[in-house]
Structures are given as structure tokens and as C-alpha cells.
């Protein structure tokens, strides 16, 4: 982070000096998807806010494998840094209608249209353009449900390339299907194989046994950037990355910033907040 030299430099850039290009984005995620009430959350299960409507507009099920960027619907649509500069996230504020934890991440690659009754390997593929190669340490694989899958419990694994470029790595089988692990917007993180700390690519996913309903699910490769606890309904929280950890996360050019929600209850949240960036 050599580009941000000290507090005076940050102040200068935050007020438009030295090509700081400060940007503040206010977001709102309504608890609605495709003009209907969002599916109830499950306490302690990750929920994707990718398709939640609001400001900026909500996203869609991606279909074929793709690399989403900052202009993709569902992203927060921050501007890219100019003049060879880098973009830095200085702070976040937020408030939610119910208690939970908001997770900001860069959505690196996604696909939908996978079938929860197919028990052979289903191809994912695609090529990352951010956090590639050795920078893939910290990338995660999330299974995302777009249309509810079946009520029969099974497990799911992915074949992936790890942070060192080893192909054919297999995630630890994790529960898939049935209550809490089947509903639309559910996120199911896939645990990496022992010794791995990141992901360069996902070749395929395999559902061990049918869940009973095809539904529509997908795979996303994501890079979590920040977490903001919103522990009391309505009460705001703030993360100041100048004064706290993690220290001023970088937001890569074209980053597809999006949110996941770790709920405390079964009520789908409305979430508001702001993010504050500078360039250096």
C-alpha cells in the first residue's frame, strides 16, 4: 500500500487532491427478488444479496459462466480508478432491518443453470481476471442457489485448481439439499482440500445423489474483502479501515463488489449503507 503514504495523504485524496477521486456509494438492498418477497433466511446460513433489488439495481442469475465486473447488474458499480492509480476502500457504514453480518466481496466468476438432480460432474470452467495466479490465495468457492432445489439431503464437491496451480483438487464433501441448504439465495461455501488456501479455477461440481428437484444452482468464485457486523436491527455500524483492521482493502479495477448476508433470523433483511473510496 505504498501509494497511500500517511494520514495527510489520505485526507488530501479524500477531499479530491492529488487525483484522489473520492467516491462514496450509498446502497440499498430491498428484501425482494424479481418483484416478489425474498425467500426467508435461515439463521447462520449465508444468503446472497446478488439478486436483491435496490440501489444500484439487483442482479440476475448469470446463466453461462462469466466474469462479472463493476458494471454488471447486482454489483455496486463503483467507478474504475484512472491514470494507473489503484482504488482503496476506506470505510463502510451499514444498517439492516434485522440482525446479521454483511460481507463485502469481489465476485470473480459465476455460473448458474446447474441441476440438483444430475449426479455426474457438471462443468463450470471460465477464467479469472482478478486475483489470478498466486494472488488467488483467499479466493473461495461458493455454491449459490437461484431456484430452490430438492428436499433430499446429499453432498456436493467441486474439482478445482488450487492457489499453486495444482489441478484436480477436490473440495471436502459438504451438505447440499434439504432445509437450510436448498432455498433460493442460499450460499454454500465449499471447504478446500487440506493444505489449500485459494482457488484459481473450478472445473466442475458433482452432486453425490439427487436432491429430488433440479432447481437452478450455480458456482461463484469470490474474494471476501470486508465484514461489517449489524448486530441490532436498525442500529448502524461503521468500519473505519484507516483506524481498524483489515487495513484499507484494495478494490481492483473492474471489481464486481457485492454482498452476502449471514442472518441471525428467518426474516430477509433490508440493508442500507455506504462505502467510501479513494484512488492512489
Amino acid at each position: 500500500m505504498a501509494a497511500l503514504t500517511n494520514l495527510s495523504d489520505i485526507l488530501n485524496r479524500s477531499t479530491g487532491g492529488n487525483s484522489g477521486t473520492p467516491e462514496t456509494i450509498f446502497f440499498y438492498k430491498d428484501s425482494r427478488v424479481d418483484a416478489a418477497a425474498a425467500v426467508a433466511t435461515i439463521a447462520g446460513r449465508l444468503t446472497s444479496l446478488w439478486q436483491y433489488e435496490g440501489y444500484p439495481a439487483g442482479g440476475a442469475a448469470p446463466g453461462a459462466v462469466a466474469v462479472p465486473v463493476n458494471t454488471t447488474d447486482g454489483a455496486l458499480k463503483q467507478t474504475d480508478p484512472g491514470g494507473g492509480r489503484e482504488k482503496w476502500l476506506l470505510g463502510i457504514t451499514g444498517s439492516a432491518s434485522v440482525a446479521g453480518t454483511l460481507i463485502l466481496y469481489d465476485r470473480l466468476l459465476h455460473i448458474s443453470g446447474l441441476n440438483a438432480t444430475t449426479i455426474t460432474a457438471q462443468t463450470v470452467g471460465g477464467t479469472l481476471t482478478r486475483y489470478t495466479g498466486t494472488e488467488s490465495v483467499g479466493n473461495q468457492i461458493w455454491v449459490e442457489v437461484y431456484t430452490q432445489i430438492g428436499a433430499t439431503s446429499t453432498t456436493i464437491t467441486a474439482s478445482y485448481t488450487d492457489q499453486d496451480g495444482n489441478t484436480g483438487q477436490t473440495t471436502t464433501a459438504t451438505a447440499f439439499g434439504n432445509t437450510g441448504l436448498r432455498e433460493a439465495q442460499r450460499i454454500i461455501p465449499l471447504p478446500l482440500a487440506s493444505g489449500d488456501s485459494g482457488v484459481r479455477a473450478v472445473a466442475s461440481v458433482t452432486v453425490l445423489a439427487t436432491t429430488g428437484t433440479a432447481g437452478d444452482f450455480g458456482v461463484s468464485i469470490v474474494r471476501p474483502l470486508a465484514v461489517i457486523p449489524l448486530g441490532v436491527p436498525g442500529v448502524g455500524s461503521i468500519r473505519d479501515f484507516i483506524a481498524g483492521l483489515p487495513s484499507i482493502p484494495e478494490v481492483l479495477t473492474d471489481a464486481c463488489l457485492a454482498f452476502a448476508w449471514l442472518p441471525n433470523s428467518t426474516t430477509a433483511p433490508q440493508v442500507m449503507g455506504s462505502l467510501h473510496f479513494v484512488e492512489a
Binding site: 485526507l11 484522489g20 418483484a35 444498517s95 436498525g234 455506504s274
Partner: protein
């Protein structure tokens, strides 16, 4: 111009260009729902009728001074009787007189007055502000709006309207944008899908959020937000004539009595 270093900021902060004291009585709220304090006394505004562009001189606005340079909010010292999330915003355009029982496209006092600030519409939000309670029957609402392109005839995503939490005076119901959009420049009409059973009075407000601060969950506790100490150097610019007002996400059934001082600095 910019604030080039900490010494400059410190000098500005200890001798602010403008300090405004303001207070608000408690408003009946719903936990987790966004409310506008526009009609809340003291320093209350009035429910608008015809479409208008409110300014810093409009009753209900903070009436901060205009600046010959760049004016920014640098710090807030305040206390509130309830925890929550306070949003300071520039109220760009508003109108009223819409009904919660009319189920055709309503154009009374619409389209909204043309923006004179943040005219690109990027980051501008559109909300339905309820001035007198609409009915207890829950339905949905959409609006036809112009995006930032600007392309007219865009339709907001249907969102909940009427019924508890979405009907009471003071409630601000944000209109989610159609896919592809990131802001609003005008609203042409509003359509309530089915009657809420009570007409009430609501209107469209276009606003630009500038700063949001958490209100600690310790009723009555004094808190200080300073751009450098705990606000990640966020110092939003306040353009001349901005109609500053506040929105509040409450933790309980009341927003709580609020009092505070906002310090502005000028570059």
C-alpha cells in the same frame, strides 16, 4: 482545492466555517424501517403539494450557509434517545398529494421538478414519503422514472406499500431500480397495485444521501463522529443551496429525541 494535510484539517476543524445546532422530537417508527424526519418538529418542513425543488431556504431544511469555496461536513456531535442509523441527505425534488387508494397511474403533481443539484442522477434515490398514513392493506407500488442515461419510461421493481411498517406518516419507502440503472433524474408517475383502503397522502422525494452515521445502542449517550478520528476521512461536500434533511432507521417504535451540532468546514 483539497484539504492537503492533517494540520490544515485540524485548523479548519477547530474553527469551523459553519456550525449548526439541530434537534428533532421523537417520531413513531418501525424497527429497521427507513423514516424521514422532514415533518418532525422542531424545524419541521411541510408536506409538499406541487412538484418543487427545495433548497437550503425551504422551511424544514437545515439552512446552512452557502460557501464561496467547497463546503464539507467534518464532524457531528450529538445524542439520541434511541439507537439507529442517521442519514444526512440533500433533498433534491419533492411533491405530494398522491393517494393510497388510487390504482391507476397517478400523475397528480407529477412529474417531479427537474433536478438542480446532482443533475446526472447518479446515486440519486427515489422514495415514497408518507405524509398522512395510507391504509392497512398491504400491496405493492411501482413508479415510472427517468434514469441517468437519461431514458424515461423505466419502471421501478414492485415493492411493498401499505400495511404495518409501510404506511405510517414519516415512512420513506425506497423504490428499487430497474436492472441496468444506478440513479434517478425524474419520476413521471406512481402506480399502487391495489388499494390500501385509506387514501392518506404521500409523495415522491428524490434525494442524494451524503453521510450516514450509526447511532449507538446506548440511549442518550453523547457521540462524536469526526471525519478523521472515526469516519475514514469521509467529508461529504455540501453544494450551495443544498436542502439538508435527515432520515433515520430506527431500532424500535420511536426514533428518540435527537439533538446535535454539525460542523462544516470550507476549503
Amino acid at each position: 482545492m483539497a484539504i492537503t494535510d492533517y494540520a490544515t484539517y485540524k485548523a479548519d476543524a477547530v474553527a469551523p466555517y459553519n456550525s449548526l445546532s439541530w434537534s428533532k422530537d421523537s417520531l413513531a417508527t418501525i424497527a429497521g424501517r427507513l423514516s424521514s424526519l422532514w415533518l418532525t418538529a422542531p424545524f419541521a418542513g411541510a408536506a409538499p403539494t406541487t412538484a418543487a425543488v427545495p433548497t437550503s431556504a425551504t422551511t424544514g431544511a437545515w439552512r446552512q450557509l452557502n460557501s464561496s469555496g467547497v463546503q464539507r461536513i467534518a464532524s457531528i456531535e450529538a445524542s439520541c434517545a434511541q439507537g439507529g442509523y442517521l442519514i444526512i441527505a440533500d433533498r433534491l425534488s419533492h411533491q405530494g398529494g398522491l393517494s393510497g387508494t388510487v390504482i391507476t397511474a397517478q400523475t397528480t403533481n407529477l412529474g417531479t421538478a427537474a433536478l438542480t443539484r446532482y443533475t446526472s442522477g447518479i446515486g440519486v434515490m427515489a422514495g415514497l414519503e408518507i405524509y398522512s398514513a395510507v391504509g392497512t392493506t398491504g400491496t405493492t407500488v411501482t413508479a415510472s422514472y427517468t434514469n441517468t442515461t437519461p431514458t424515461s419510461g423505466r419502471t421501478s421493481i414492485a415493492t411493498t406499500f401499505g400495511g404495518t411498517g409501510f404506511r405510517e406518516a414519516g415512512r420513506m419507502i425506497l423504490l428499487p431500480l430497474q436492472q441496468g440503472d444506478d440513479g434517478v433524474t425524474a419520476v413521471a408517475s406512481v402506480t399502487v397495485l391495489a388499494s390500501t383502503v385509506t387514501a392518506g397522502n404521500f409523495g415522491v422525494t428524490l434525494f442524494k444521501p451524503l453521510l450516514a452515521i450509526p447511532i449507538p445502542f446506548n440511549p442518550g449517550q453523547q457521540f462524536v463522529y469526526d471525519a478523521v478520528l472515526n469516519m475514514s476521512t469521509l467529508m461529504p461536500q455540501v453544494v450551495n443551496n443544498a436542502c439538508l434533511f435527515t432520515l433515520f432507521v430506527a431500532n424500535t417504535s420511536a426514533s428518540g429525541v435527537f439533538q446535535g451540532v454539525v460542523n462544516f468546514i470550507e476549503e
